[in-house]
């Protein structure tokens, strides 16, 4: 997170560097093309804010849900990258998309609410390279520990519950290689001798320790969930009582009167900071700009934050959140302090050249292979 803070500071020193006419970026949003094809996380394109958008702009939204960052990257590349106009990429997909030239720079001056974003999300390193913005930040939040309040007692305080045999056959975690980071985060506190500082920067020994923990966890797992709705079914039907989750599942289950609660355990949490990015070959760029502007407005930001259970980038959304659902702004840390923001280990793509200067970290290919082997 030091990198983030540094980049943030740099961006503040040179406000809107590289933006303006002369660099090929549009300076106005033209007429909408009538269509908009999006790849989104489940719950990100709800009729509640999509329908008014379609009415206001005439852009018909066609959204496809993806279950993981890997799937988002692949979908963005399929068909020469012309199939989709935009993607709600998390931090572990955004850099892959930028360096893979799958997304194009955007002009944040065309997004009126951009100036109301918390400073940390105006030019974060996961979507802004050398002052060039490759997307507009959206929302962020932690991956939580979800549990059945009737069957899991006492209430958990630590991630250790999903690694302990007490709830054998009743545990569920995401089917996603980035889950290795959750194991590493737990080990960073449970086994300090491993010296894990960043759960995405693991050398061979630290990586092996995380994989071993996951191997021990495997017999406890009911199912590795691929879509949020899978986990909702598991909790609803009593097949799982504890698991790694997103707040979205908690909200949906509570709305269905299932006795669940979630928390950020004492070890902390991994999390996501999502960005709407525009495909390099977008067929409907004006509609995409209109969409990015729309989802940045305080009202939509508040609606999405409450629906999914995450924190809006736009600080103006906080009072609206409280109007929609009293106390929700505090519950989801709206306008949170920089220290809370920094306490979440946001998803990023593991690379060999990590912070230690030795180039010996396990890269994402190794993570993917280890995950495939774990699941076999």
């Amino acid at each position: 997170m030091h990198v983030l803070v540094a980049a943030m500071a740099a961006a503040l020193c040179v406000p809107a560097a590289g933006i303006g006419s002369g660099n090929g970026l549009p300076t106005t949003i033209g007429k909408g093309e009538g269509q908009l094809n999006l790849i989104a996380w489940e719950g990100y394109t709800q009729p509640q804010w999509v329908k008014p958008f379609e009415k206001a702009t005439g852009c018909q939204v066609h959204a496809k849900y993806a279950g993981s960052s890997d799937e988002m990257v692949t979908l963005m590349r399929q068909g020469g990258g012309t199939q989709y106009d935009g993607v709600s990429a998390s931090g572990d997909a955004s850099l892959r998309l930028i360096y893979g030239k799958d997304v194009q720079p955007v002009n944040p001056n065309l997004i009126p609410d951009f100036k109301n974003f918390i400073p940390a999300l105006q030019s974060p390193p996961h979507n802004t390279i050398g002052g060039v913005h490759y997307g507009i930040s959206l929302q962020w939040g932690p991956n939580t520990l979800l549990y059945n309040t009737k069957l899991v007692k006492p209430a958990p305080t630590s991630w250790s519950i999903i690694y302990s045999p007490k709830y054998k056959g009743k545990v569920t975690v995401p089917d996603n290689p980035i889950q290795i980071a959750d194991a590493a985060l737990y080990l960073s506190k449970a086994q300090p001798s491993l010296g894990i500082k960043d759960p995405y920067e693991l050398d061979q020994a630290q990586f092996n320790a995380a994989i071993n923990l996951l191997k021990q966890q495997k017999p406890l797992i009911k199912k590795y969930w691929a879509l949020a709705s899978d986990e909702i079914d598991l909790f609803k039907n009593g097949d799982a009582v504890v698991g790694a989750s997103w707040p979205y599942q908690t909200n949906t289950l509570k709305a269905d009167k299932v006795a669940v609660a979630d928390l950020i355990p004492k070890e902390g949490a991994t999390g996501w900071a999502d960005t709407w990015m525009m495909s390099a070959h977008a067929k409907h760029p004006n509609c995409m700009y209109k969409w990015m502007a729309w989802v940045s407005t305080p009202k939509v930001q508040a609606e999405q934050a409450i629906y999914f259970g995450e924190t809006p980038a736009n600080t103006k959304a906080c009072p609206i959140m409280n109007t929609l659902s009293p106390g929700s702004a505090a519950q989801y840390h709206c306008g949170a302090s920089a220290s809370y923001f920094d306490s979440i280990k946001f998803w990023k793509t593991p690379v060999a050249a990590c912070g230690n200067g030795k180039n010996d970290c396990m890269d994402y290919t190794a993570w993917q292979q280890a995950w495939t082997q774990l699941k076999s």
Partner: protein
């Protein structure tokens, strides 16, 4: 042709005359008719079916750049080496083949008595009703049937509810290879019943009478006469149940547990998530090879005559 020759001489009908000349041409050159009839389906078979298999096989020797995920057209055996050397992929291949075999055996055991009843015992009315009962599930979506089974097998599902009412406790079948096996056995059962029924129906009654005349009991007749004669039908049905299970990925995805990956799931993930089409192609050649061997054995057992 004599009548047509007479028609030909009728004046003032040029269109009819042309048509008759064409008929005459086809009659004197029979191979042109065959070519015209078989050409389009053969062309479709060659281009759409075989060419895509060739493309699959060829691309399995390529690799993907790990960072950009662009396909690199450099010939190598890397994908196959990964599959054979990694215990993970071996486990997945053996699991797929093992469950496919288990499903086939289960369906054969279930289908034989039902097929026998339908073919030799039931009256025409009962037989018709049984046919409807066997085929009706095929009219509903495969996906819906898998989801319904999920509801049955869930921890709080119908099965455990019933067991609980009977005071038998509960079973944890949901999201496991057991669930995958049960669901596959259910969805592919009609594909086994129909060929088994066909084979049993074709056994001449006289052979069974002869067996009895020669002093064989019911069980001996079944074992020495009915089973060998019905075997081609069972093998024909097994081609469907085995290959359909071998290529499926939806049921393991929806109803499988922590260790329920099938070959199809790895192919799906390689294409849909890691964008590694060459590896998917390489792994997809394994079921192809397994099926090729299976079909050779099935042919030896006379399955193709029973279809």
């Amino acid at each position: 042709m004599a009548v047509r020759a007479a028609d030909l001489q009728t004046p003032g009908r040029p269109l009819r005359a042309a048509r008759l000349r064409l008929t005459g041409f086809f009659w004197s050159h029979p191979w042109t008719k065959a070519l015209l009839l078989l050409g389009p389906p053969l062309l479709a078979f060659g281009l759409v079916y075989l060419a895509s298999l060739v493309a699959l096989f060829v691309s399995s020797f390529w690799t993907v750049n790990p960072f950009t995920t662009e396909i690199e057209h450099a010939w190598n055996l890397g994908n196959f080496r990964t599959i054979f050397e990694s215990p993970a992929y071996r486990t997945i291949a053996f699991r797929t083949i093992g469950i496919a075999a288990a499903v086939t055996i289960t369906d054969a055991i279930l289908a034989f008595p039902l097929g026998y009843f339908m073919a030799r015992v039931a009256r025409p009315r009962t037989r018709a009703m049984l046919f409807v009962a066997v085929l009706l599930p095929l009219w509903s979506s495969y996906l819906i049937r898998v989801y319904i089974w999920r509801l049955i097998l869930d921890q709080d599902g119908i099965l455990n509810w019933t067991l609980g009412k009977l005071g038998l406790g509960s079973v944890g079948l949901a999201y496991s290879n057991w669930a995958v096996w049960i669901i596959f056995s259910y969805v592919w059962l009609p594909f086994m019943i129909l060929p088994v029924f066909g084979a049993l129906e074709r056994i001449p009654e006289s052979l069974l009478e002869a067996s009895r005349d020669l002093g064989a009991g019911g069980f001996q007749t079944l074992r020495r006469v009915v089973l060998p004669l019905a075997l081609p039908g069972v093998v024909a049905g097994s081609i469907f149940t085995f290959s359909l299970t071998l290529g499926d990925y939806v049921t393991p995805l929806l109803a499988g547990g922590a260790s329920s990956q099938f070959i199809g799931n790895v192919v799906y993930q390689s294409v849909g998530i890691s964008n590694n089409v060459p590896f998917a192609a390489a792994f997809a050649t394994i079921p192809l090879a397994v099926m090729a061997v299976y079909l050779l054995i099935a042919r030896k057992l006379g399955a193709f005559e029973a279809m």
